[in-house]
Amino acid sequence: MMPFLARRAAALVAAVLLASFTVFLIPYVTPGDPVRKIIRSRVAGDVIDDSAVDALSLQLGLNDPLWTQYLRWLGRLSSGDMGLSYTSRTPVAEQVLPALWITLSLVVLALGAAAAISVILGVTAALQEGRPADKAITAVTQAFIALPEYWLAPLFVLVFALQLSLLPSAGWEGPHSAVLPVAVLALRPTSYFTSAVREGVLEALSAEHVAAARSRGLSHLQTVWKHVIPNGLLPLTTLVAVWFAGLLGGSVIVEVIFAIPGMGRLLFDGVLNSDIPLAQGAVVVVVGLAVLLTTAADLVHGLLNPQIRMSHA
């Protein structure tokens, strides 16, 4: 388990370094003078004349080798300093924090809903294998995979907000406003989760140790409850983590459509307005979070599996 952990940790560090370095490079590779771009993200006032630019670039160390600048940038980043947004002229960190909360709650709600629904649907489908209930569940959840969020969301708004006036069409105020975005966001994971649960339970059901459990006197229900469902749900833990990362990205569309001031919206605005510090901040936070969560979930998966947990490799 320990070497396994060490390898994961190494990968984690490498991932964060790689992503942050790529992000750090944006001002240098996008069109325009990197020095002016960086100064604009560091100094509140407008700096126009060349002598001031030279003075500031000396002061901010912009003539140093790239990797020194990177390390300095990384240092600032880790203390929460992500520079000033071009558009709002306020520190990016001040915008990122509230947005992060919104996106996290959106994603957690969607994943929770998806996991809960898929456990019910998947277990039902597996226990009813081949019967109408299984076929219906499988057909419907398969169709979910093919549903584009940017189509479903406007349709939902059209029906539930504009026609039926049941739910708000946009914004992030109160539980009502969360229903539609969460529903749209949860759809695709529900589809994958359900099929994972179904496959997992079916596989667990066919394992030979299940027959052995019956021979010890456990009833069918006791066997399913103690030996089939726990084993069958195990793959879901990893899948949920993977989808955590996926949904952090997937929320861009949903946040844009429903005008939710989350990370996705922030990132989109940053990209659309060429607001480099804002885009940098948003990407670093989202990627860092995604990597961290995936690794955490991997750990949980390892802890739940005695063979991985106890391995010396």
């Binding site: 406007p154 989109f268 659309l272």
Partner: protein
Amino acid sequence: MRKLPVHVRAAGAVLLLIVLSVALAAWIAPYPPAEQNLAARLAAPDAAHLLGTDHLGRDTLSRLLDGGQFSLTIAALATVLTAVTGTAVGVLSARRRGWLDEFFTRTNDVLLAMPEMVVALFLVAALGTGYPSLLLALTVTGWTPFARLARALAYDVSARGFIEAAKVVGCPPSFIVLRHILPHLAGPLLGQATLRFGQFLINVGALSYLGLGVQPPQSDWGSMLAAAQPYAVRAPLTILVPGLVIFAVALCVTLIGQHVSRVTGSRLLLSTVPSRAVAHA
């Protein structure tokens, strides 16, 4: 073509119909896609405009056929590119093992943790819009499911007795890879490719919807959806139709892909589970 289930045949037929009409758009479209007719804005379907018109009075059907060329081509290109790269990487890691395998596996895990959409947004922002950057945005993370699947399968096949037997009788590595390993990977990878095509199609649409994919005057299904949104209440058909086409194509390829995956004995879910979980499950 032995005993395909009804739903798979139906999916194939619908897919064929859509792809053919899109390919022949130049000949069968009733109007030039960009021709505006401000007198007939947001028109309901009638004999002149089978699917109505958009906010500039352009014929929806013609735009749909024309826009499909972009959407389908780029999704197909991305699928082929990622399938080839991913398979090569996967087979290479499984054959070489050691540090190369470790490197690719970790890269894979890392890319898996990267939100696809964020990476795409980021790349389009950094490199600008256009065909190449759009393609890069889709492929840079898109190869990983193929690599994971190919690696897991190649690992399993390599552990089979006939690979060792081939080695013992002196078959060179090229023969082993080309004649023994790749044929065993073909079916599952084909299933995977079909499924991924659907997801690429949806993702291209998403980028276009956000205004980061195809740029005007060229249009595709995603940008049509975005353009129609302000008029959703007045002309619901303008947002219903392009989305429905994306959904139909994605659903058809998903059904076909699921079928291929099932008959070739691999599981759809391999694509979304990290390499370790697949290889050692």
